[in-house]
């Protein structure tokens, strides 16, 4: 008896996702601990990880909550961090767009960084995959990592008091962000965008509750796109 092609792809996705577990487990536990130390109870911490499943945005929200930012600012800023997922949605649509609405809704719920990244690479490499094989692979990456995310968030929330504050877990937050963003610095446009983002957010540091972040990010988006246009024109003229 052999497994169906979709099941085989699910297993393949689960296997390809294994290295990410090394990052996700401590990341989830750190989120659980930081959120608990910020004053959230276990239900609230789990609410974040079960309903949102977006590590960076969850950490941003908890960071702003600790700074006692107004509720609306917390929501807008954290959602800004997730805007990149609109790009994931656009990129995955040609592959999964023909599946039933409920399947697409479930895929959207799980469309976080890792399933997007691995699936888009895989679908590009194997264009002959059927729709059900693609779905199998996507969920093979997405479901095990999401389950680990839930469980380790709970572990982090329950063990938060055992983690001494000087352990440096808070340093893991910027390190994780840096590690995610640094491989994306592949063109002059990306570097210019990131540079604009850093300089402006520091210059606008006087602005309250991360509103400087929104302005810095919006300007950085435009700078990235403009430098790309400029590079294309320059290349065309040569």
């Amino acid at each position: 008896m052999s497994a169906s092609p979709a099941t085989q792809q699910f297993m393949k996705g689960a296997k390809d996702g294994l290295p990410f577990h090394l990052v996700i487990w401590p990341f989830a536990a750190i989120f659980g601990a930081i959120a608990t130390k910020a004053g959230l109870n276990v239900a609230e911490v789990m609410g974040f990880s079960l309903l949102v499943i977006a590590g960076s945005a969850q950490l941003t929200a908890v960071q702003l909550l600790s700074d006692n930012a107004p509720t609306l600012i917390v929501i807008i800023t954290s959602l800004t961090v997730n805007l990149r997922m609109g790009m994931y949605s656009a990129a995955i649509t040609p592959h999964l767009g023909k599946t039933p609405l409920l399947t697409r809704a479930f895929a959207a719920y799980m469309l976080y960084d890792q399933p997007y990244a691995l699936s888009s690479i895989k679908f590009e490499k194997d264009p002959d995959m059927t729709l059900s094989e693609k779905l199998g692979y996507f969920f093979g990456v997405a479901i095990p990592i999401a389950v680990a995310w839930y469980i380790l968030t709970l572990v982090g929330a329950l063990l938060a008091d055992q983690i001494p504050p000087d352990l440096g877990v808070d340093f893991a937050v910027p390190v994780t962000f840096l590690a995610v963003v640094s491989p994306m610095l592949k063109t002059l446009a990306h570097i210019a965008s990131a540079f604009t983002s850093v300089v402006l957010v520091l210059l606008l540091g006087f602005m309250p509750y991360g509103t400087g972040l929104l302005i810095a990010a919006a300007c950085a988006l435009v700078v990235g796109a403009q430098v790309e246009i400029w590079m294309e024109k320059r290349k065309a003229m040569q």
């Binding site: 609410g47 909550l65 990235g224």
Partner: protein, 107 residues
């Protein structure tokens, strides 16, 4: 510790859940196979590099940051390893490994 009430915290959770879902569902749910305007795709391509550095920079370099030389050095190493290897895992392991190892030696 946050001063936010239980109501405010759950409001944030549900608003983030709904907003995040709508962002992820946007194209997948409504666009189908139709092509997107090139300028939208162009802007969307820069969201990670535009937003994430603005989140990280104040943590490391902002006025409230705990900016000791060890953290800044390890953050710089993480960035270099990430750019060089294009591997998120290696960047995290190197950055944090260095931080905890050097931290233990330097006390």
């Amino acid at each position: 510790m946050t001063d936010a009430s239980t109501f405010e915290i759950w409001l944030i959770i549900f608003a983030m859940a709904a907003g995040t879902f709508l962002i992820r569902f946007s194209f997948l749910g409504m666009v189908g196979d139709r092509p997107l305007p090139a300028w939208v795709l162009r802007l969307l391509r820069y969201t990670p590099v535009a937003v994430l550095p603005a989140v990280v920079a104040p943590m490391l370099l902002g006025v409230k940051a705990d900016a000791d030389p060890l953290r800044l050095f390890c953050a710089a190493v993480t960035l270099v390893i990430g750019i060089w290897t294009k591997n998120v895992l290696w960047a995290i392991l190197t950055g944090l490994g260095l931080f905890f190892t050097l931290g233990a030696f330097l006390g």
